[in-house]
């Protein structure tokens, strides 16, 4: 079992290059922690193997980790070695009233999500574990994992903040917008039809001041002209450019795809 969220048209390389980590990030961590080895075709035609097939591998610089989330800008991912987990025996979705309290009570949940005010804890493990946890949490229990449907809306933005600020971020979602918040992770996806740019700038300012970001996932081109998709330039932009140069000196791999137009 690979704890990523994929659609029918997803590819392994795409999942790694996007590095979005999926709904189960609270329990299984980010994508970059489970890519052990990568074979990369660089922009200037070198085939580079980095990392190692086993989990206990520390040779060389952590290029596999670099490739996760690189959005194809460092090269084409030809092959990966991924760390997998065993399938669980049982799974359940438990509706709760208070996401923050559930996060403190539940033991290693897959996720604690708040979707437009409805909070739910996602559990998996042995049947006995799941039953005991569901009972301890109280609330309505549904068998299996009922993940939220993808957000609809012309504008889709994702806020990333330190995990403890997730409730605060939820409070700042623009009025009338739908949201999906992952407690314990610090990610709030939000979607809506009408975008009030000033309000979104405020939200971005708050998120960035906290050390996070507000990023545009999808929006009409006109919106992206008045609201930068990525936000404030990162201090490490110079270093990032040099890293990009090290892998793609001729600039053919998704040029301009990364923040800062790298």
């Amino acid at each position: 079992m690979l704890p990523e969220d994929c659609r029918a048209e997803s590819t392994i390389g795409g999942v790694v290059a996007a590095g979005l980590s999926g709904w189960r990030r609270l329990r299984y961590g980010p994508t970059r922690d489970r890519v052990l080895e990568v074979v990369l075709a660089t922009g200037d035609g070198r085939v580079v193997r980095a990392g190692g097939r086993v989990v206990k591998n520390v040779t060389g610089y952590d290029i596999p980790r670099l490739v996760c989330g690189s959005l194809g800008a460092l090269g084409v991912i030809g092959q990966v070695a991924l760390k997998l987990w065993p399938q669980a025996g049982a799974a359940a979705t438990v509706e709760v009233d208070d996401a923050a309290r559930a996060l403190a009570t539940a033991v290693r949940p897959l996720a604690v999500l708040d979707v437009d005010g409805a909070a739910a804890v996602y559990l998996s493990g042995t049947p006995a574990e799941v039953e005991a946890q569901a009972a301890a949490l109280g609330g309505e229990v549904r068998d299996g994992l009922h993940w939220p449907a993808p957000l609809a809306g012309e504008h889709l933005l994702v806020a990333r903040v330190p995990a403890r600020l997730t409730p605060a971020a939820v409070g700042r979602v623009p009025a009338g917008w739908s949201y999906q918040a992952a407690h314990g992770v610090g990610e709030v996806r939000m979607g809506g039809a009408a975008a009030e740019v000033a309000e979104l700038h405020d939200l971005r300012g708050w998120a960035e001041a906290a050390g996070g970001a507000l990023v545009v996932a999808e929006a009409p081109a006109a919106f992206r002209e008045v609201f930068d998709p990525w936000g404030a330039p990162q201090p490490s932009a110079g270093l990032q450019r040099r890293v990009k140069q090290a892998f793609d000196p001729v600039g053919v791999c998704n040029p301009g795809r990364l923040p800062g137009g790298i």
């Binding site: 990369l40 660089t42 200037d44 070198r46 085939v47 580079v48 193997r49 980095a50 190692g52 040779t59 060389g60 610089y61 290029i63 670099l66 270093l239 040099r242 890293v243 140069q245 090290a246 892998f247 000196p249 001729v250 600039g251």
Partner: protein, 51 residues
Amino acid sequence: MPLVFGPVDLDAQARLREAFDPGGLLNPGKVLPQGSRCGDYGRPVPTAAGS
């Protein structure tokens, strides 16, 4: 290191290291053996198209 990685792989690691340490000031010779870079073999490094 040359026992684990081939010359192309070592060169990629050397280039990444150079991105962090262009001047070669930080612990030169550590982790990567001398002679990993393309330049050490006398091979040309491709530059951006048009330059």
